[in-house]
């Protein structure tokens, strides 16, 4: 079936089986590789993107569900040349190791900060539930607090 949606501010139209997971459309049809395949069952969060501003695990969302919606992937998170404050914070804290899970965490964090601009440690524990095998959680927590303060500054 033909499905149209907006991805990273661009209008796109694809013609695929409506049950195809959004992840594979993003990775293999639109060739945006920043969104990762981890588990295929929405269990790890490596494929986290935004659909209408909300964090979604794209491996388990059929493409037909996003018709006429707005999708943002890691490639479209920052506005133009500057990094998004979450990416800026990640850079400052030197968070990534292998790096594979990081786009998913960055997207999950950006969505959380939209909802909870100044998260407590408990908010972070409850909302950031992706899996990182290298164990970068300790630096991520610092980066999330830093991102919150950077965004706070941006608004002032």
């Amino acid at each position: 079936m033909k499905i149209s949606f907006k991805i990273n501010k661009e209008e796109r139209l694809v013609d695929v089986d409506g049950n195809t997971p959004l992840l594979w459309v993003i990775r293999d049809i639109l060739h945006l590789k920043g969104t990762k395949f981890g588990c295929g069952k929405a269990a790890c969060g490596a494929c986290t993107i935004h659909v209408d501003g909300k964090a979604v695990r794209s491996c388990s969302m059929p493409i037909k569900m996003v018709a006429e919606k707005k999708i943002t992937t890691i490639e479209g998170l920052s506005d133009g040349k500057l990094l998004h404050p979450v990416q800026e914070a990640w850079k400052k804290e030197v968070v990534p190791q292998c790096g594979y899970c990081q786009p998913g965490f960055i997207m999950a964090t950006a969505a959380m900060l939209d909802k909870i601009p100044n998260p407590t440690d408990e908010d972070i524990d409850q909302n950031i539930i992706n899996v990182c095998r290298c164990g970068t959680y300790y630096r991520m927590r610092k980066a999330i607090h830093l991102a919150a303060s950077l965004m706070d500054k941006d608004e002032q």
Binding site: G34, K36, F37, Q97, R133
Partner: protein, 725 residues
């Protein structure tokens, strides 16, 4: 060792023929040389290697190997014989090169060498050896390159070398400056310098500094740098159907329905596997569900079977440590305790897979692998090609942890690509990962010891049973396994490190399990240290001795023992270690030494509403020279968190004869909420050179947590993962 090594290029150490210069493709100067130069002539005994020493870098020395490549933009490409799987080694390499070559770190691109560059490391990427092995060779090579640039520039400019200053990739002279690229332009024949100087440690501007990772930006913007991100024109997608039951084999298979599914291009019958090739991955997966298979299942394994099969007293016995006398069987003063650890999954985030193209008698394989050379050879063998006709291109790895030391699935992709005649991308599903992992073997331990009247340990014996780690792996040919008789991987951390305990024994009981087990970050170290350091803590508690004092008293006086002592003392000091319960919190102490790098952890654990949580870990680690202290700390943090996951969460089981669970979530792992909010790392430079860093800090973590739990609850938890009933 001297920090001011003057590298002297003697004829017999270096062959001029090994230098080649090539032009074109925007490259103006390529430095290639035979890495046989760097093979340490001293062949160390296998026991020694596994105990404490760093293996020398051992590349293939038969052909010229491409190391450095200068582009016309004055950028230096370093073709790394090691892959980057997260430990930050590319950054360390860039720092080493920047210092010796007087080039700006931003002018260096580090990339994994494809096999057609000639650079192959026979010992793969693993064992935390990448920086430790290449530290000296890479410094020497960069220093030699610097000397050649200086010589060329002096010739071109007709200025004395003493009047030239090399800085930030430029050659500065009175009245001007020349880029390295310009200096190298037109060079057809390298003149090897007879002498070149290495920088002294005091001249380092990059080595020893917490420089940001060179791959940082790529990894936060989602750049397509991983094996699984690779694409080729006209590429198809594949999935593979594999046996699910332990020890089972495909008997009969019917895929006529699968072949008719939308998008399916071909079904390929392999040796014990079935490949489904389709236009998209989703279509391949959908078709796989339509395949009918009947299986030969010789036995429905249970967890109980496994526990009975793998235990101390069963299998091949080998004494791996023998000092003083053994404990008498009937000695009433002897204390004995039993410990165990479960099957552990690697669960690296990027699933295995590969992209393969086979055309005109040549193959290209793009993938994430720790074993470039072995993969190249196995693909060539399967296709009947010469090794040189298979080019393996390694990308960034989305985690390795030992899992990608065996990437023989590249063979399957290559076979499918040849049969179909188009490039194919294959990816494991997560279920495939969990059922076909090369697991960390389960272990069983009996630790026995005796306290002398003077409050010191007189005897300590560690009996440990393990499945394969090194034995039967690609890295350990069967003949070598037989010769050694011991699994040197399972042995990591198994021998008692305390030199002042006069009577020490370690005895290995080895069995090969009915499913593949192999290298998992730190090998036997985590479970072995858990057993020994929990036992020592229990002895201290039983005899009301300070556990730190007991450890210090148990150490002898030589250099290594003194380095362990320093780590223990500093950890006690920095953590302000308290042996007593502090409200709902307690501290636990443990230490270990692995590949010559001692580490001590103090875990502070809380118990609130019957939930255990690691609140803080203080880590002291003697890593030798830290090329990048920030990334060494990142390795400590990562090891601690992965260790918490293994110590308190992870366990692969067996359900209906199949390995289980098959996905994240049900395979319980440490998440953000389980991660300590404070990790305080202190590094000690106990030796002049860099030591392996990625694994030693995993050693003491499980025992440190268990020792804290003992003080919190009064219970000694002896089985990993540690859970309150």
């Amino acid at each position: 060792m001297s920090n001011n090594m003057n590298g002297t290029n003697k004829g017999k150490r270096l062959s001029r023929r090994k230098f080649i210069v090539r032009g074109g493709l925007g490259s103006i100067g390529l430095l290639a040389l035979g890495s046989c130069v760097f093979i340490n002539p001293l062949r160390r005994s296998a026991y020694g290697i596994s105990e404490s020493l760093v293996l020398p870098y051992s590349g293939k020395g038969t052909e010229a190997n491409l190391w450095f490549e200068f582009t016309t933009e004055n950028t230096l490409i370093f073709h790394s014989p090691k892959v980057e799987m997260g430990q930050g080694i590319f950054t360390g390499y860039a720092q080493i090169i920047a210092d010796e070559l007087d080039i700006h770190i931003d002018q260096i691109i580090v990339q994994a060498a494809a096999t057609n560059t000639g650079i192959l490391d026979r010992f793969t990427t693993g064992g935390s050896l990448s920086i430790a092995q290449l530290y000296k060779p890479l410094r020497e090579m960069a220093a030699m390159m610097r000397q050649m640039i200086l010589n060329e520039a002096a010739n071109k400019l007709n200025i004395g070398k003493n009047a030239l200053i090399l800085r930030n990739g430029m050659i500065e002279y009175t009245g001007g400056a020349l880029s390295y690229a310009k200096a190298l332009e037109g060079v057809k024949d390298w003149k090897l310098p007879k002498k070149f100087d290495l920088k002294s440690n005091s001249e380092f501007k990059h080595i020893g500094k917490p420089i940001a990772r060179v791959d940082l930006e790529d990894k936060i913007v989602g750049a397509p740098i991983f094996g699984t991100d690779a694409e080729m024109e006209n590429m198809l997608h594949a999935t593979i159907l594999r046996p699910e039951h332990i020890g089972s084999k495909m008997r009969e298979v019917n895929y006529s329905e699968a072949e008719k599914m939308p998008g399916v291009v071909r079904v390929v019958e392999g040796d014990g596997w079935l490949g489904i090739v389709a236009e998209t991955f989703s279509e391949a997966l959908a078709a796989r569900r339509k395949v009918n298979v009947s299986w030969d299942i010789p036995k429905i394994w249970t967890e109980k079977d496994l526990r009975a099969y793998l235990k101390v007293g069963e299998g091949k016995r080998m004494v791996t440590q023998k000092e003083g006398s053994a404990l008498e069987k009937e000695d009433e003063a002897c204390i004995s305790m039993e410990f165990s650890s479960p099957i552990g999954a690697h669960a690296q985030m990027e699933p295995n897979g590969a992209v393969a193209k086979v055309e005109n008698g040549k193959a290209i394989i793009i993938m994430s692998t720790q074993s470039i050379g072995a993969t190249q050879k196995s693909v060539a063998k399967a296709l009947g090609f010469k090794t040189k006709d298979v080019n393996v291109v390694a990308k960034y790895l989305g985690g390795g942890f030992g899992r990608r030391l065996d990437t023989s699935h590249a063979v399957e992709v290559a076979l499918m690509a040849r049969e179909v005649g188009r490039p194919i991308k294959y990816s494991f599903t997560r279920k495939e990962e969990f059922q076909n992992d090369m697991f960390r073997p389960p272990t069983h331990h009996i630790v026995k010891g005796k306290m002398a009247p003077n409050g010191r340990l007189s005897h300590l014996e560690h009996h440990y049973a393990s499945g394969d780690v090194a034995i039967n792996s690609l890295l350990m040919p069967p003949a070598m396994s037989k010769m050694l008789g011991t699994d040197v991987g399972a042995m990591r951390g198994a021998n008692v490190m305390y030199g002042n305990i006069k009577n020490r024994r370690a005895v290995q009981w080895h069995k090969t399990l009915p499913f593949a087990t192999s290298f998992w970050r730190s090998l036997g170290l985590l479970a072995n240290t858990f057993a020994i350091e929990s036992f020592i803590d229990e002895m201290a508690l039983n005899h009301q001795i300070d556990p730190i004092q007991l450890r210090l008293d148990s150490l002898a006086e030589d250099e290594t023992q003194t380095r362990i002592k320093k780590v223990i003392q500093l950890a006690a000091e920095k953590s302000q270690y308290q042996n007593e319960l502090q409200g709902n919190r307690a501290m636990g102490f443990a230490a270990s030494i692995d590949v010559g790098a001692p580490c001590a952890h103090v875990a502070e654990v809380s118990l609130i509403n019957n939930v255990l949580k690691v609140e803080k870990v203080t880590c002291v680690f003697d890593c030798g020279l830290a090329v990048n202290p920030d990334q060494v700390k990142a390795q400590c943090e990562g090891s601690i968190i992965m260790g918490i996951s293994a110590a308190m969460h992870e366990k692969m089981g067996i359900k209906d004869g199949r390995l289980y669970p098959i996905n994240y979530g049900t395979y319980d792992m440490a998440l953000m909420k389980h991660s300590p909010k404070e990790i305080d790392v202190h590094l000690i430079q106990g030796v002049d050179d860099p030591l392996p860093v990625g694994e030693p800090p995993l050693g003491p973590i499980a025992a440190a947590i268990g020792n804290a739990i003992r003080r919190l609850t009064g219970k000694r938890l002896t089985d990993l993962p540690m859970k309150l009933a």
